[in-house]
């Protein structure tokens, strides 16, 4: 049977981990994920993009869609930062281990798993767009062979969230931690309720 202090420590760990991970995630969403160099230059992040292609500003309906879809991931991460801060505040400043905030933290962590699918969709859109932008533009015309310099897309550390299972590997321990803390808090509460009723 876990003690109240143990649950408090677990909940605080989950909240701290959640705040750190989700703040980093929010930065990663805003930061350039791919930097383009060559005749097409600029950057692509999950939330926005700024690309100049052959001297003109490039507008991509697909990347606009990715930006719009990123609302889901941003909402999930923001929710987690807020609930993590709420847990930390109520636990440290007020000295209480609130069930509602613990439940909020657990539910918020689950939203990250729901947004996993959206992130995968965004990854597909960004990959499709990058493949389109970094293709070979050279051609043969009546004037001869027109060689257009290649366009390179360089991934930045922020693109790591799209690599393999990084996102899942970071969020799943957090979800487990938040859920375990909530379940243990429930148990502590129910045991205490049983003791009081005796």
């Amino acid at each position: 049977m876990p003690t109240k202090e143990q649950v408090k420590a677990l909940l605080l760990s989950a909240a701290t981990y959640g705040v750190v991970v989700n703040t980093a995630l929010l930065f990663a969403l805003l930061a350039p994920m791919y930097v383009l160099r060559g005749p097409i230059s600029g950057f692509v992040s999950v939330v926005t993009y700024n690309i100049v292609a052959f001297g003109r500003r490039y507008i991509s309906p697909a990347l606009d869609m990715a930006s719009f879809l990123s609302l889901i991931v941003i909402t999930a991460s923001t929710l987690n930062v807020v609930s993590g801060l709420a847990v930390t505040y109520t636990t440290l400043r007020r000295g209480k281990v609130g069930l509602v905030v613990a439940e909020t933290l657990m539910a918020s962590s689950l939203t990250l798993l729901i947004s996993l699918g959206t992130l995968s969709g965004i990854r597909r859109i960004v990959s499709f767009e990058l493949a389109h932008l970094t293709r070979n533009y050279s051609y043969v015309a009546s004037a001869g062979r027109v060689v257009i310099y290649s366009v390179h897309a360089y991934p930045t550390p922020a693109s790591l969230i799209f690599k393999g299972l990084t996102y899942a590997a970071v969020t799943i321990p957090y979800v487990i931690l938040a859920t375990v803390a909530y379940v243990m808090l429930l148990r502590v509460r129910s045991e205490r309720g049983a003791e009081l009723s005796k």
Binding site: G55, Y58, F68, L110, I114, H132, Y137, A143, G144
Partner: protein, 366 residues
């Protein structure tokens, strides 16, 4: 009491209905005989619109049917069958200009048998939810927050938000990549100008010529290449100067050609490697006699031309002075022979033009 029973009955009915709908939505993942999908793209407009719900059943399909084929658990396409042969299916969105890549028949999971329009089901859902909230108003008022309430509220709200964003996204944005103004360079013409230089005029779009890094000139079929000088003008032209005179002379005399100009140029965002064939409009020199007894031999070409001029002059019939002269007519050059002081004068002009020996004999005076 009667009201409470009604609420309980409607709650149970709502739960069952919700379970069935969820089951139908996830049905395609586990291969249920019936499944429903929300249309999330514009490719089937006007037949299917964003937000419409399609009901699919596992049954045989034919060309013209709308089917649901899935390439993965989360990637499904609702399109019309346009071709069906040898276990391969070709589908196409009614609003798409071209068909989809062919897919194996095994990927086709359902045939669409019914469509529920978004303007039909959305108001219905809202009315049901409103009615449910109204019937349960006392329950919600009295109810204390119990474990699970907050989590349910957060998760349900997030799922609804998620679905709304995912549903709205294709309505406002498309999956198309943006259009790119890729630089284009095409040839307008390549001509030999009057001063013996070659002017290569290009049509240029969204780029500009920067400079010429390499230039070679030769005669078609000959392995001998000469370096040339080239510069870029403001009007998207390359002016090639320094074409050896001997080369042009050879072309005008022997009739060989065309002139081949190989250029490597830097353009904004890239480079241009071009070979241009120039067909000079060679014209025969003109030999004419003026009234005052002057012979005028004109070379209209931008290349020098060798000519042999023989004059026969005399002031008495029978006896003539013969003079033979080898001359090179400069490009666009004119040779004037003043034979006005003789009573009798003839001229014979010989040259080789385009591989043929040309002889022109003219009586000047007498």
């Amino acid at each position: 009491m009667e009201g409470l029973r009604l609420v309980k009955r409607s709650t149970a009915l709502g739960v069952v209905l919700l379970a069935v709908i969820i089951l139908l939505f996830i049905g395609r993942l586990v291969g249920f005989p019936v499944a429903i999908i929300i249309v999330s793209g514009r490719s089937m407009e006007p037949t299917l619109r964003v937000g419409d719900i399609v009901v699919g059943v596992k049954e045989p399909f034919k060309v013209g049917d709308i089917v649901i084929w899935c390439a993965g658990p989360t990637y499904c396409v609702v399109h019309r069958v346009v071709e069906l042969r040898d276990s391969i299916v070709v589908t196409k969105g009614d609003n798409n200009p071209a068909p989809d890549p062919p897919v194996p028949e095994s990927l086709v999971k359902y045939r669409v048998i019914a469509v529920v329009r978004s303007y039909e089901w959305l108001p219905a859902v809202l009315i049901v939810l409103g009615l449910y909230a109204y019937l349960k108003r006392d329950y919600f008022r009295r109810r204390k927050v119990v474990p699970g309430d907050v989590a349910s509220l957060i998760l349900v709200s997030f799922i609804v938000f998620n679905a709304a964003v995912a549903l709205l996204a294709p309505a406002y944005y498309s999956m198309e990549a943006g259009s790119l103004a890729v630089p284009r360079v095409t040839l307008r013409h390549a001509t030999l100008s009057g001063d013996g230089s070659v002017v290569i005029t290009l049509n240029v779009y969204n780029t500009r010529l920067v400079n010429v890094t390499q230039c070679h000139v030769s005669i078609y079929g000959s392995s001998k290449r000469y370096e040339c000088e080239a510069r870029v003008t403001r009007h998207s032209s390359i002016v090639v100067s320094g074409v050896p005179r001997t080369l042009l002379e050879h072309m005008i005399e022997e009739g060989v050609g065309p002139l081949v100009i190989s250029v490597k140029a830097t353009i904004l965002f890239g480079k241009l490697v071009g070979t241009y064939y120039v067909y000079p409009p060679w014209r025969r020199p003109t030999v004419s006699v003026l009234r005052n007894g002057t012979v005028v031999i004109a070379n209209p070409n931008p290349a020098p031309l060798k000519i042999n001029v023989t004059t026969y002059v005399s002031n008495k019939p029978g006896l003539a002075n013969v003079a033979f002269e080898e001359r090179v007519l400069a490009p666009h050059g004119v040779l004037k022979l003043d034979l006005s002081k003789y009573r009798y004068a003839y001229v014979r002009v010989e040259y080789v033009f385009q591989g043929k020996r040309v002889v022109e004999q003219l009586k000047v005076r007498g």
